[in-house]
Amino acid sequence: MSENEVKNLEDIFEARIARDEKIEPKDWMPEKYRKTHIRQISQHAHSEIVGMLPEGNWISRAPSLRRKVALLAKVQDEAGHGLYLYSACETLGISRDELYEQLHTGKAKYSSIFNYPTVTWADMGAIGWLVDGAAIINQVPLCNTSYGPYARAMVRVCKEESFHQRQGFEIMLKLANGTPEQKEMAQDALNRWWWPSLMMLGPTDAESVHTAQSMKWKLKRKTNDELRQQFIDQTVPQADLLGLTVPDPDLKWNEKTGHYDFGEIDWDEFWQVVKGYGPSNKKRMKDRVGAWEEGAWVRDAAMAYADKKEKRKDLKHVG
């Protein structure tokens, strides 16, 4: 294809996106569009399955049968999200095994929030309320993103996430209205998860390398800083309702801007965790890689069995 022809295809492609048309797997797309989407969708899928670990950590210790069932169902939903996001990603011409390989070798990233440990039951509330809350803010605009399979997967993901968020808030509410020990547990969880949740919305706009292109392709509708502000504005009144204190002495309502002003985020901590040196990075990867490696004989057996079955069927046909 000549340079001119490619340019022409690119123009048609960009015009389709500008008209809000969906791009489907069989449509022509620029290589960069394909790669960017593989990167983002797989990062999202990896976040779902690594995200199962910190919450999975409390399934065996959940304080009541009702909470245990809800937590199991939530972690299972995350596995389901992983499954359809990987499938969406596979439509771009990459296999799930390759995607796992990228995760296990550290080539692909996942949300760094999951590199913090879950140390009390209240963390199950804080993750649902704050982490899923931040995720929703990030994800709702993606229901209208340009790549069809991703947009459709996100519609379902978002519905379930908002249920998880309410469930997390309800855990917090119960603790906040409970005994002094329970309230303290809730406050402690807010203290530990608040700042990482703000970081979860990504580096500041000045530092964000992908923003401009992603906005054009509707992979992003708002910048990281806009999303962060939205999250804070939405969450602070909820903390007030719980009677908990947001751990930021600089947090103040600004009449003029109609938003909350907030303190400086510790970006050194953010980059430390992103680069693999957070409190639980090693443990999370060890668990993922371990499950994969220890499961190899099981996956091999399933393949071998399917092959044998297929051959027996063929023999029957011949006979």
């Binding site: 065996s60 009702r66 199991l72 299972q76 499954l83 039951w121 004989w297 057996a301 071998a304």
Partner: protein
């Protein structure tokens, strides 16, 4: 308690689901593939759902006005749990997980099909709902027995080892406690001794299809139903009861 036998009978059924559900819950996020992970969690969820129905019923029967599904699930001593030894066996590897499930599902399915006819309406209703779930569990675990048994050399050896090791816990499934006998006499309980032959036939057929050997044990383990558990049980309970023990009398 007016109906101590019924109460004990319910706990005997429910504790199996409770402890097996707990074991499966430990695996969430650590399975060999996303699909098996989701299936394992599903089974765990079904089992805990059943447990809640049973314990809510047991709480109504209890003389203790403060009894709830949670006090029954979390606040007993080890000797008071009535589950069979099979379900408390550890998640050694996927082979053991599947064999444990398979050996229990076959029993569970046969048991629930009979419990559907119980004179006790609540138990019959729980059984009716559960039998659909457990049919799926059985399909899942027996399919995996076939895959692992007739898969690769390695999977064959591993699953055979698990079968051989866990077989000695199967006989206990059919032991009858005093509560069992009382409930059978009243037409409420299931006469499990009648299920034994069908059980071994059902299990053996799948094993043979999976090219696995059916063990010929002379000796079996028992004691779980009387609350004499393996050394694993204390660790399961300290995990499971952690919150309730550490923060007594609180709502979550």
């Amino acid at each position: 308690m007016k109906n101590q036998h019924l109460y004990n009978y319910i706990l005997g059924i429910a504790d199996n689901s409770l402890i097996l559900g707990q074991r499966l819950g430990e695996l969430c996020g650590h399975g060999p593939s996303l699909e098996t992970d989701i299936a394992g969690t599903n089974i765990s969820l079904d089992l805990f759902g059943q447990v809640r129905s049973y314990f809510q019923y047991a709480a109504q029967l209890s003389d203790d006005n403060s009894a709830t599904e949670d006090t029954i699930a979390f606040l007993r001593l080890e000797r008071q749990y009535k589950n069979v030894l099979l379900v408390e066996q550890p998640n050694t590897d996927f082979g053991y997980v599947i064999v444990r499930q398979f050996l229990f599902d076959a029993y569970h399915l046969l048991f629930l099909r009979e419990l559907e006819n119980s004179k006790d309406e609540t138990l019959a209703a729980i059984a009716k709902k559960s039998v659909k779930e457990v049919s799926y569990h059985w399909r899942f675990s027996s399919d995996w027995i076939r895959r692992l048994g007739d898969g690769t050399q390695e999977s064959h050896e591993r699953v055979q080892e698990a079968i051989t090791d866990l077989w000695m816990y199967t006989d206990e499934l059919f032991h009858q406690t005093e509560a069992d006998q009382a409930m059978i006499a009243e037409g409420i309980g299931v006469n499990t001794s009648k299920l034994k032959d069908i059980y071994y036939k059902m299990v053996s057929e799948v094993l043979e299809e999976a090219t696995l050997e059916v063990p010929e044990n002379k000796y079996f383990h028992k004691g779980g139903k009387q609350g004499i558990h393996s050394e694993h049980m204390g660790y399961i309970l300290s995990d499971m009861q952690y919150m309730q023990r550490t923060y007594p009398n609180m709502e979550w």
